[in-house]
């Protein structure tokens, strides 16, 4: 059985990177309200999530099947959000009587 054992150093680097991103996301929330807050916050959150998934959850060193399942779960989330929001945003576009 082969395991890729990640060095303690790598774990610590990832951990401090996560802390740095946490400070970044709190700092960004104090930016003036003209800044694209949601975009910045979600970008930082996604980077943090990817770091956790790749290294803490070992996906980077895992087999392809694990990759597929991990990515597929995000695919369902994207589908749900994309179709639901597309519906809500486009409701007023067409003037359909009785809608």
């Amino acid at each position: 059985m082969t395991h890729h054992i990640i060095a303690v150093r790598t774990y610590l680097i990832i951990y401090f990177a996560l802390i740095a991103f946490l400070f970044a996301t709190v700092g960004a929330s104090f930016l003036p309200s003209t800044a694209p807050h949601l975009l910045i916050a979600m970008t930082i959150a996604t980077i943090k999530a990817v770091l956790i998934i790749l290294f803490f959850m070992h996906v980077y060193y895992s087999n392809r099947l694990t990759w597929i399942v991990a990515v597929a779960s995000l695919l369902w989330l994207t589908l749900l959000l994309a179709f639901t929001l597309a519906d809500y945003f486009s409701r007023g576009w067409l003037d359909i009587p009785g809608k």
């Binding site: 774990y11 951990y15 999530a49």
Partner: protein
């Protein structure tokens, strides 16, 4: 159970090979994959509430903005820190189990559980504050006067104001649902971590319990990932 006549005594370093697997590698991968499939369903479980959040926030951004100002930003910050640290201790616990250091695994698991309990403690303090300020949705919910005034300014008609006031409360419905469901996952995680720590102490698992601790780690990190998204969405709206 796989036994051969040549190995009458159990080799502590090697996991037992169950009869329905070809080899240890396959057995290990199957456990990991099983947890990943479970986590995929968990993503979908949280997706429903996140989609509801996205819809209501896009309908009434101002109400969500005002609502998030009542969240305790620094308590949430401290909790994020605690949770990220617990993920580190869990990751180091998994590493220790891969190296066969049983005692270290027990200590790292205990540290993880303690940090998890600290997270829940801070969460309880936050809930108490919010409930005392009449921000728990339902019969006793009161929209603070400042917020009602601000919503009046952004609403063109009384009808719109009514909707905005409702969505202000909806922000708290989503906040309490999302964080409570997350906290429930934490409680389950802590209980399992403590059970696994005790089983590790008793040398319950073959092969140093590497597979078991790795799979537990996956669950714990997943709960951490969920919080990584919840924190900015609920506490940090501008």
């Amino acid at each position: 159970m796989h036994t051969t006549s040549t190995s009458a005594t159990l080799d502590d370093d090697q996991p037992l090979l169950m009869s329905h697997f070809d080899d240890l590698e396959q057995q290990h991968d199957a456990s990991n994959l099983g947890m990943w499939f479970f986590l995929a369903t968990e993503v979908m479980f949280f997706s429903g509430m996140l989609a509801a959040y996205a819809i209501y926030r896009s309908l009434s951004p101002e109400a969500f903005h005002l609502g998030s100002r009542h969240m305790h930003l620094w308590l949430g910050f401290a909790n994020t820190l605690v949770l990220l640290t617990s993920s580190l201790t869990m990751a180091l616990g998994v590493r220790a189990s891969q190296l066969g250091r049983r005692n270290q695994v027990v200590w790292y698991l205990l540290a993880t559980a303690v940090l998890g309990i600290a997270f829940l403690g801070v969460k309880a303090v936050e809930y108490t504050k919010e409930i005392n300020h009449h921000l728990f949705p339902g019969k006793h919910f009161v929209v603070p006067a400042d917020d009602a005034e601000a919503l009046m300014k952004v609403s063109a008609t009384p009808e719109e104001l009514h909707l905005n006031l409702g969505r202000f409360q909806m922000m708290f419905v989503l906040y309490f649902c999302l964080t409570a469901v997350h906290a429930f996952h934490m409680i389950v995680g802590i209980v399992i971590v403590l059970i696994m720590a005790e089983l590790m102490r008793r040398k319950w698992f073959s092969g140093h319990g590497t597979t078991q601790i790795e799979v537990l780690g996956l669950y714990w990190h997943f709960v951490d990932v969920v919080w990584v998204f919840l924190y900015p969405l609920l506490y940090l709206i501008d």
